[in-house]
Amino acid sequence: MSLSRADIENIARLARLELTEAEIPVYVDSLSKIFAFVGELDRAPTSGIAPMAHPLPGLAQRLRTDEVREPNCRDTYQQNAPQVEAGLYLVPKVIE
C-alpha cells in the first residue's frame, strides 16, 4: 500500500501536527512501508472472532460513588502552564 503526499498532509491535519517540508517525503515513505507491513494481517481469517480491546477480558469496569473526593489543585497544576492569568489558561483569541 502506498500513501501520497496529500494523504500525509491530511493525516497530519487530523493529528494536529505541523510538518516541515523536509518531513513530508520521509513520512510518505515510512508510513507506506508500515501499512504494507501491517497488511499482513489480511492473511489471518478472523470471521466470527470478537475484537479484543483489553488483555484481561474478565475484568469488569469499576464504578465509584458520585461524591467529591479530589481537592482543587488548580494553582499547583498551573505552575506547569505556559501562560496563565487570574487562574485562567490563556490561548490566542478564538472568537473574532
Partner: protein, 486 residues
C-alpha cells in the same frame, strides 16, 4: 567508600548489619553515576540533594528501628514515572520543563518501602523505540560496548543496572521495553501481568499494553522490589483487585516436574544461530533442575508485530492528544491562532518517531479505515491471546529468546522503522495477551549479552521469579559486569 557491585539483597543486608549507612551508600552510587554519565548518558536528571536527604532520613529511621527490608537502598526511576517536585520528561522536548505535581503510585510504593531515589533515567521518547536512540536527551550507550545500543525503551534503566551505577531501576514495557533492553545489557528484567502495578502517574503510551516493572541484577532483587510496587490502586481503572504475594518466599521452590513450553515460532529463521545456542544451553540447565521441556506452537504469533503496530499507535494517538500546548508541555512562539498553537506546539515538541506513531494511529482510527485496520488487529489480538491460553493448558511456563540478535550498533537501524520494529518480534505477544514476562542473562555472543525470555500465565510472577532464581543459583551470567565498569 566505593559503591559495591552488589545486589539489592546484599545491600539490604549490609545496611541492616551496619556495614555502611544509606548516606554513605547513596553518595558512593552518586559518584559512580557522575563518573559514568559521559560514557553512558543513562540519566536525564540526577537528584543528588533529594537522594542524600532521603538517605539521611532512612538512616534516622534505622536508628529508631523503624525499618523495612528495603530501607535506605538506592534505586532510580525511568523518567516516564511522575515524581513530585522533580522534572519528569518522558524523554521528550514536549515535557523538557515539566515538574510533576504528584508521584506515580509505583514511585510512592517504592518510597514507602524505604528506597532512596538517585534520579530519573533516560529512555526512548514517550517509550517509543527499541534502541534508546529517540530520546530528546540523546542516545544511551550499552556498557558492554559503548558503540552499541542498550535496547529500548528502558535503555537508561538497563544500562545503569548493567554498569552497576544503580542497584536496581524501575522500567515500563508496552511491547518489550523492559525485556529487550534487559537482554541487550545482560541484566534481569520483569514485566508483570497487565493490571498488577498501577499505571497512575506513569505517562501513558498505549493504555491496554503499558505495564510497569523492574530491571535488576537478579531475580531475587526483582522479588524484593516487586511487592511494594504492586497491588490494587483505585486511581487506575484497570488495576486488578488481587492480593500481592511475598515473591521472596517461593524463590527457592523446586523445579521438579515444571513443564517448559518451547514456542516453535520463537525459534524461527530470524533467530541468530549463536543466540539460539545460548538459549538451548539455558534450557538444559532447567532440565538438570528437574524441568521437562516440550515444543508447543502459537501459530498466530508471527502476526504479533503487525497487530501491535496498529493497536499501539491507535492508543498512542489518543493518549498523546492531551499535549496541546495549553495546560502543560511545550508551547510554540507567537501562535497566530488556536489551531496554529496546537499544530506547531505538537510539531515542535514531538520527535520524529513519536510523530510517526501518532500519524499511524490517527490513520487507522480515521473514517473508512477503522474496520480494516483497528478492528482487524483487535481480532488477531484475540487469536494470539487464545494461542497462549492453549499453550498454557499443557505448559507451566513458555521459554524462548528475548531478542533475535544481541545489541546492534548505534545508528544501524535508526532510519528503517520496520527493521527497528522487528526487534520486538519475540516480546510483543506477551503485551497483547497481558501476560507476565521476564528476560534473564544466559550467556554471551562476541562479548555481548544474550537474554532468555520466560513467559507465564496471568499472575504467575512468583513461579517465573522462582524459575529464574533457581537458574541464577546454577549460573553466574547475571553477575558478570562490563570490564569498563567493574
Amino acid at each position: 567508600m566505593s559503591a559495591p557491585a552488589a545486589t539489592v539483597a546484599a545491600l539490604a543486608k549490609g545496611l541492616a548489619a551496619g556495614e555502611y549507612s544509606s548516606v554513605e551508600l547513596t553518595r558512593a552510587y552518586l559518584e559512580r553515576i557522575a563518573a559514568a554519565q559521559p560514557a553512558l548518558n543513562a540519566f536525564v536528571t540526577i537528584t543528588s540533594e533529594a537522594a542524600l536527604a532521603a538517605a539521611a532520613a532512612a538512616d534516622a529511621a534505622r536508628a529508631k528501628s523503624q525499618t523495612g527490608r528495603l530501607t535506605g537502598v538506592p534505586i532510580a526511576h525511568k523518567d516516564i514515572f511522575c515524581t513530585e517536585g522533580i522534572r519528569t520528561t518522558c524523554g521528550s522536548k514536549m515535557l523538557a520543563n515539566f515538574v510533576s505535581p504528584y508521584d506515580a503510585s509505583v514511585v510512592a510504593g517504592l518510597r514507602g518501602a524505604g528506597t532512596v531515589m538517585l534520579g530519573k533515567l533516560n529512555m526512548d521518547e514517550f517509550a517509543m523505540g527499541s534502541s534508546n536512540e529517540t530520546s530528546f536527551f540523546g542516545a544511551v550507550h550499552n556498557p558492554w560496548d559503548t558503540t552499541m545500543v542498550p535496547g529500548g525503551s528502558s535503555g537508561g534503566s538497563a544500562a545503569s543496572v548493567a554498569a552497576r551505577i544503580v542497584p536496581a531501576a524501575t522500567a515500563t514495557d508496552t511491547g518489550g521495553s523492559i525485556r529487550q533492553p534487559a537482554a541487550l545489557c545482560g541484566v534481569t528484567g520483569i514485566k508483570p501481568t497487565y493490571g498488577r502495578c498501577s499505571r497512575y502517574g506513569m505517562i501513558a503510551f498505549a493504555s491496554s499494553l503499558d505495564q510497569a516493572g523492574l530491571i535488576t541484577v537478579s531475580a531475587e532483587d526483582a522479588a524484593l522490589l516487586l511487592g511494594p510496587m504492586s497491588g490494587f490502586d483505585p486511581r487506575d481503572s484497570t488495576s486488578v483487585e488481587r492480593a500481592v504475594p511475598d515473591y521472596t518466599t517461593t524463590l527457592g521452590d523446586s523445579l521438579e516436574g515444571l513443564t517448559i513450553g518451547l514456542v516453535k515460532e520463537f525459534f524461527d529463521k530470524g533467530l541468530d544461530a549463536t543466540n539460539e545456542q545460548r538459549i538451548r544451553d539455558a534450557i538444559a540447565v532447567f532440565e538438570k533442575l528437574g524441568a521437562r521441556a516440550r515444543e508447543v506452537s502459537c501459530p498466530h504469533l508471527p502476526l504479533s508485530v503487525p497487530t501491535y503496530y496498529v493497536v499501539a499507535p491507535a492508543e498512542c494517538s489518543s493518549n498523546l492528544a492531551r499535549f496541546d500546548g495549553v495546560r502543560f508541555g511545550h508551547r510554540c512562539e507567537s501562535p497566530k491562532n488556536l489551531l496554529d498553537l496546537y499544530c506547531r506546539s505538537r510539531g515542535e515538541g514531538f520527535g520524529a518517531e513519536v510523530k510517526r506513531r501518532i500519524m499511524t494511529g490517527t490513520y487507522v482510527l480515521s473514517a473508512g479505515y477503522y474496520d480494516a485496520y483497528y478492528l482487524k488487529a483487535q481480532r488477531v489480538r484475540q487469536l494470539i491471546s487464545a494461542d497462549f491460553a492453549q499453550a498454557f493448558q499443557s505448559c507451566d511456563l513458555l521459554f524462548g529468546p528475548t531478542s533475535p540478535t544481541p545489541a546492534f550498533a548505534i545508528g544501524a537501524k535508526f532510519d528503517d522503522p520496520i527493521t527497528m520494529y522487528l526487534n520486538d518480534i519475540y516480546t510483543i505477544g506477551a503485551n497483547l495477551a497481558g501476560l507476565p514476562g521476564m528476560s534473564i542473562p544466559c550467556g554471551f555472543v562476541d562479548g555481548l549479552p544474550v537474554g532468555l525470555q520466560i513467559l507465564g500465565p496471568h499472575f504467575s510472577e512468583a513461579r517465573m521469579l522462582n524459575a529464574a532464581h533457581r537458574y541464577q543459583q546454577e549460573t553466574d551470567w547475571h553477575l558478570r559486569v562490563p570490564a569498563a565498569f567493574a
